[in-house]
């Protein structure tokens, strides 16, 4: 893992000429309450203190985790043996009789893991829901008679499950109400299907309106929208870099960025997660040594990072990266999928969160899925960059463009957030999200759970570690009508399974309190409170008339 010793990184100061970073090596996170002021080009700039923590678990927990996986593996071998010898019926995929002498298809680790470990707990995933993914939703009840090999629906619906898993940061993914009237009008005029690509007949005036609005929202020169967020990354990175270029990508980047980087044909080098020393070392080596055999200079160096990392909850150290990029003359591509609309004082993303100039970042990419309640993605930046992408992007040439009602939903949401619809509701929601995030994280921290990430990111991973606890956590919380997303091995490292909460502005204080109470009980039942800094600095207040303060 990239966390340097699992300690907290509290680095708020960015001096101009010397590169300095200090990371405390103990497992606690200390808050740097002083905002440092640095002079840069004559104008004062406040750099925000970064408070994040990636605490390490106690040793016995790691031992038990590996032990749990070991026992699961042993029993997996036993079950495979029984299935092979016909003592037990095999429900998994097997080769046909004629293929038995060929190269085996299902013997690699991935299939072994799926058959023997994932199948036992897979009732926690792929649960169908049957309402809008608002703060409360309805889930179809599902049971399994043969230990998760097959499922059947009982026909009942579990109503009003609290939604802690959907990426609904501002609460805009809701059922139809009167504010969405413009979407209905657009649906009546334009229909749903576009039936063409951007280059052919698929560019609508709705797209132009949306692109202008996105550019205004982000305070950049121009923007272009695409129909699918994943495809925005994977189809546009190949258009920007090619062979002879270097991509420096963060360790924990999303699959779309990795796929785009691989498709481009450029050389890819990975730096440790959010670690500026590692990035600087790679940049120096790239500039000094050039391309591998010929030692020519790289045509382009592109740094790929994300605004908020969805599995860690960490926010990118943007001021340091921009300083590095300017020093070594590289380009910066930020994927703001989770951070647009959810961080920053007015919801404009990580650039606003750190108070920086959007012109410093070369390519701003984001999606409309998370905070805007629609689907699709955008790329924004300077006008010549966006004009180049309009001509050369694979998505513009081959993929169908964004559907008009969805474009109108994004337009409506963006105007709502910016306040262009005449109310301050949008700003209130952004502030409510920040308040909810702070409250939720602070309460979880006080209870003693290990939470990863920056204290202002709305994505809250709660570490579970043991495989059996992952399953028990998901099931128990569903019994209490709280829907959470638990994540295990392939998406996270083997020993760091977690539950990921996405706080939303639509969650009321009562909902959050209900969830926190349930988590408290779960923590005691399953022994999840591993954190070593349990007590907060403030004394607890009691409701009785007389109480004693500890001196």
């Amino acid at each position: 893992m990239a966390n340097s010793g699992g300690g907290a990184v509290c680095n708020g100061k960015l001096p101009n000429h010397k590169k300095q970073s200090d990371s405390s090596q103990n497992g606690n996170c200390t808050k740097n309450g002083i905002v440092k002021e640095a002079q840069q080009n004559g104008k004062p700039h406040f750099y925000k203190p970064i408070v994040e923590s990636f605490e390490e678990a106690p040793l016995h927990v790691m031992v038990f985790t590996y032990m749990g996986y070991g026992i699961g593996t042993l029993f997996g071998y036993l079950r495979d043996f029984l299935r092979n010898w016909g003592i037990e019926k095999c429900n998994a995929a097997v080769e046909r009789e004629e293929q038995k002498d060929f190269v085996p298809l299902y013997q690699n680790f991935e299939n072994f893991y799926t058959r023997n470990l994932y199948m036992r707990v897979r009732d926690n995933w792929n649960r169908p829901i049957c309402s809008a993914p608002g703060p409360l939703f309805d889930m179809m009840e599902r049971v399994s008679d043969d230990y998760n090999w097959t499922f059947r629906f009982t026909g009942r619906i579990i109503k009003d499950v609290i939604n802690m898993g959907s990426y609904n940061f501002l609460g805009l993914a809701a059922r139809y109400d009167e504010t969405m009237k413009t979407v209905k009008d657009v649906l009546e005029v334009y229909g749903v299907g576009v039936a063409s690509t951007r280059h052919e007949m698929g560019t609508l005036n709705k797209h132009k309106e949306l692109e202008d609005l996105v550019a205004k929202f982000l305070n950049v020169e121009a923007a272009m929208v695409f129909g699918m967020g994943f495809a925005t990354n994977s189809m546009n990175i190949p258009a920007l870099v090619g062979k002879g270029c270097l991509i420096l990508s963060d360790e924990l980047n999303h699959a779309s960025l990795v796929l785009g980087a691989r498709l481009s044909g450029a050389t890819i080098r990975i730096f440790k997660h959010n670690n500026m020393q590692s990035l600087e070392k790679l940049l120096r080596d790239a500039v000094i040594y050039g391309q591998p055999r010929t030692h020519r200079a790289w045509k382009k160096i592109l740094i790929l990072v994300e605004g908020v990392y969805s599995m860690e909850g960490s926010i990118v150290h943007l001021p340091q990266i921009v300083a590095l990029k300017k020093k070594y003359k590289a380009y910066l591509y930020i994927d703001e999928a989770h951070s647009i609309g959810s961080v920053g004082p007015t919801g404009r993303g990580v650039v606003e969160f750190f108070g920086m100039d959007p012109g410093d970042v070369d390519v701003l990419m984001g999606t409309f899925t998370k905070s805007f309640g629609a689907s699709g993605g955008y790329i924004a930046g300077r006008k010549d960059l966006v004009d180049y992408l309009r001509v050369h992007s694979h998505s513009a040439a081959y993929a169908t463009s964004m559907s008009p009602p969805i474009a109108e939903q994004v337009i409506r949401s963006m105007k709502f957030i910016m306040g262009l619809d005449g109310t301050t509701q949008g700003l209130k929601r952004v502030r409510q999200l920040a308040k909810n995030t702070r409250y939720f994280r602070q309460r979880l921290h006080e209870m003693g759970f290990i939470i990863y990430g920056n204290e202002e990111s709305p994505v809250v991973p709660l570490l579970l570690y043991l495989p059996a606890k992952v399953a028990a956590f998901g099931r128990h919380l569903l019994n209490r009508k709280i829907g959470v997303v638990v994540v295990g091995f392939p998406a996270t490292p083997l020993a760091e399974a977690r539950a990921r909460f996405c706080v939303s502005a639509a969650h009321t204080r009562e909902m959050l309190d209900k969830v926190l109470e349930a988590l408290d009980e779960m923590g005691d039942l399953l022994q999840l409170k591993y954190s070593r800094n349990r007590k907060s600095a403030r004394p607890e207040l009691y409701d009785e008339t007389s109480f004693e303060l500890d001196d």
Partner: protein, 76 residues
Amino acid sequence: MDFRHVKDYFSRCYYQYQIISSCAVMDPWESSIFNIILLTIFIVVVYIAYVFILVHIYLVWKFFSKMCGSHSKLSN
């Protein structure tokens, strides 16, 4: 009343053991096999410790009693 407290405590302990050893996510017959194997190992270890340690304590006691006996014989 006390029995319920004790029973509650033991059932929570057993649940903890099931979670840590992944018995909670296994089929019941796998869980039984695991429990039987673990109990067997535990009983064998306890038996060996019992026999082993008893023999050693006996030998140590005999040694010290012989020393004390020779000491008292000398002092007499």
